[in-house]
């Protein structure tokens, strides 16, 4: 159990709903779900969901903390926003799923090596460095996320697509040595750090 997870358990006892309401982005909407299931049926990757959003909401109410936070369901969100526009209770389901994923990641409860989780981290790290995303570095990082050998395989597998992008001038191999960046990248870094600090304080993270 991570340190933060232990603290969270101590802080909220068994009131997982309260924990979600306070700590998860838009988590205070969870209680408004009426279990119609329209979100579950609206998700393009629905069949890949271990638990549907509506069921996750019910699990939260039932205090199934581990099952929820350890699930890879939320990581299946493609951010298509179908669930949001269809929800009859206007729950911001996409955001709640993102928030839950983020929270599970934060507590290090999310599944290890969950591909979207890994990529999300890579993406963020990439953007924080310069203020902008360097697609080549991001792609390479992705290919090598599962280790060097797998990375070569992944890169080979996508080689033709990659090469055609290079040919079409939509993937610049020169970006590896520099590429786009914001002028005020240090300001951005400080800004993000500050934002994170405020949020942590607000949500009661003590680390």
């Amino acid at each position: 159990m991570s340190n933060q997870n232990q603290q969270a358990v101590a802080r909220y006892h068994n009131n997982f709903l309260r924990e979600v309401e306070e700590r998860v982005e838009d988590g205070d909407w969870v209680k408004m779900c009426m279990q119609c299931g329209v979100c579950a049926g609206s998700c393009p990757l629905g069949s890949a969901w271990e638990h549907t959003p509506q069921k996750i909401f019910m699990m939260i109410r039932a205090g199934k903390r581990d099952e929820v936070l350890k699930s890879d369901a939320m990581w299946m969100c493609t951010s298509c926003y179908n669930c949001i526009v269809r929800c009859p209770r206007k729950l911001p389901i996409t955001h709640i799923m993102h928030g839950l994923a983020n929270y599970a990641h934060r507590l290090d409860m999310a599944p290890k090596g969950q591909p979207t989780r890994v990529i999300a981290k890579l993406f963020w790290d990439n953007l924080v460095k310069t203020g902008r995303v360097n697609e080549l570095k991001f792609s390479l990082a992705m290919y090598f996320k599962d280790g060097f050998v797998q990375g070569i395989k992944n890169a080979m597998a996508m080689q033709s697509a990659g090469l055609s992008l290079v040919k079409a001038k939509r993937l610049n191999p020169m970006e590896i040595i520099g590429g786009h960046k914001c002028k005020d990248s240090s300001g951005i870094k400080k800004m993000i750090a500050r934002a994170r600090e405020i949020e942590d304080r607000k949500k009661g993270f003590t680390s």
């Binding site: 009426m34 119609c36 299931g37 329209v38 579950a40 049926g41 629905g46 549907t52 509506q54 009859p88």
Partner: protein, 426 residues
């Protein structure tokens, strides 16, 4: 014709559906003078277009017949059809109401012999069949229409067809020179029995009403099931005229949905359960009904009906708000969603989908006096001066039985206003 037809001892009832007719008759049978105005060409409202009522599976026209007989035998009620309220001024006990009377182009001489309809060639959408069928431009609204008088559609006035209708009438009932009239009357109290309208199903985009021919509304399904309807009571689907045997019913189509109607429309669960029995009536054990629902709201003894339908092997219940409908190659609507009891994903094709559309106050489409008090969905709670009242489905999404109760109560509220006025004046 102003003071002669109404006084501050008259009750004005707006709307001639089951609620309005009831309010008018109940007050009249207490000896009060009533003016009943209806926007359409005949009385009966939405119930006249239903095939059967739940839970008895009896026919709405049966009660309509009784009410019409009460009306025919009661001189206290004066009926004006094709009449709308333009404005209401004044206050409790003494209102001045301006009415707009649209021309029917047929006068009281009409004997409903039907010669005009035979003579006319032009056809118009039959509003009484929700546009599922056409009718001649000279028409009797429906078999039980009261007043039993034909209507000439304005579209043929000034045309050759109009003249043909006029020529065909042996009793001089066709009057193409009729003009819209505005009438102002004085009344003591107003009962708004303006009823409800089906929520516009096309706005519920994932269900594709309007895009997919085989997605229809529950009201259209009533017409399909009715032997007097466009298919002679056969459950034929619109896309190809094939018999629909495997039928899906989608609950809360617009209701309980903050993107559409906030409220629960109350009647739709029972209406769909009733309609599953139309499928049984048409196909016996070969029919198949699937009800997709969030909560089944069959309160009080209506629960008996639910329990009975649960015993019917042709009916299946799926606790799910359907996410979306797509159409397959054969024009079958395919329903996508998740059964939330447990977790079962489905993609189920049906022959026909019936959307149990929600009830929206009809008054959302008309201008009510500023004095009226409405709830968040536009249903009428009353008026600030307590001289005007809602009745029936104008006050809340109500089934027929409750609408009649509400209308009966409204009649008494209006009578109290009249009595108070009389006492003060006398």
């Amino acid at each position: 014709m102003t003071d002669s037809i109404a006084t501050n001892q008259t009750i004005l009832v707006v709307g001639g559906g089951i609620g309005g007719m009831t309010a008018a008759l109940e007050a009249a049978e207490c000896g009060k003078q009533v003016m009943l105005v209806e926007r359409n060409a005949s009385l009966g409202g939405r119930t006249a277009l239903l095939y059967r009522y739940f839970p008895k599976m009896c026919h709405p026209t049966c009660g309509l017949e009784i009410n019409l007989r009460r009306l025919k035998g009661n001189r206290n009620v004066r009926v004006m059809t094709m009449t709308e309220v333009l404005s209401v001024t004044g206050r409790r006990g003494n209102y001045s109401v301006t009415l707009k009377v649209a021309p029917r182009y047929v006068n009281e001489n009409c004997t409903a012999c039907g010669e005009c309809a035979k003579a006319v060639e032009a056809e118009i959408d039959n509003a009484y069949e929700y546009g599922l069928a056409k009718t001649r431009a000279a028409y009797l609204p429906h078999a039980m229409a009261y007043p039993q008088r034909y209507v000439i559609d304005p579209s043929i006035v000034g045309t050759n067809d109009g003249e043909k209708a006029k020529a065909a009438c042996k009793v001089g009932a066709v009057d193409l020179a009729m003009q819209e009239e505005t009438v102002t009357i004085n009344v003591g109290s107003v009962i708004w029995a303006t009823g409800w309208k089906p929520y516009d199903a096309a706005k519920i985009q994932p269900y594709g009403y309007g895009r997919f021919a085989n997605v229809i509304t529950s009201l259209e399904f009533e017409r399909l099931a009715d032997p007097h309807g466009p298919t002679g009571g056969k459950l034929l689907r619109p896309s190809d005229g094939q018999v629909a045997k495997n039928i899906a019913f989608i609950q809360c189509a617009g209701s309980r949905d903050e993107n559409h109607l906030r409220h629960c429309s109350r009647i739709c669960c029972m209406a769909s359960l009733k309609q599953t029995q139309y499928v049984r009536e048409a196909h016996g054990d070969a029919g198949k009904s699937t009800v997709y629902y969030i909560d089944l709201r069959t309160i009080d003894r209506l629960e008996d009906f639910y329990q009975k339908v649960q015993q019917d092997a042709t009916v299946t219940f799926v606790k799910s708000k359907v996410a979306k409908i797509v159409e397959d190659k054969d024009g079958n609507p395919v329903l996508h969603g998740v059964d939330t009891e447990g977790y079962h994903r489905y993609a189920t094709p049906h022959d026909l989908v019936v959307l149990a559309v929600g009830m929206e106050p009809e008054a959302n489409g008309i201008k009510l006096p500023d004095d009226m008090l409405l709830d968040s969905s536009g249903f009428i709670e009353g008026s600030k001066d307590e001289g005007m009242f809602g009745a029936g489905a104008a006050t809340s999404p109500l089934d027929v039985n409750r609408a009649v109760q509400s209308a009966t109560a409204a009649a008494l509220r209006a009578i109290k206003v009249i009595h108070k006025t009389a006492t003060v004046e006398g």
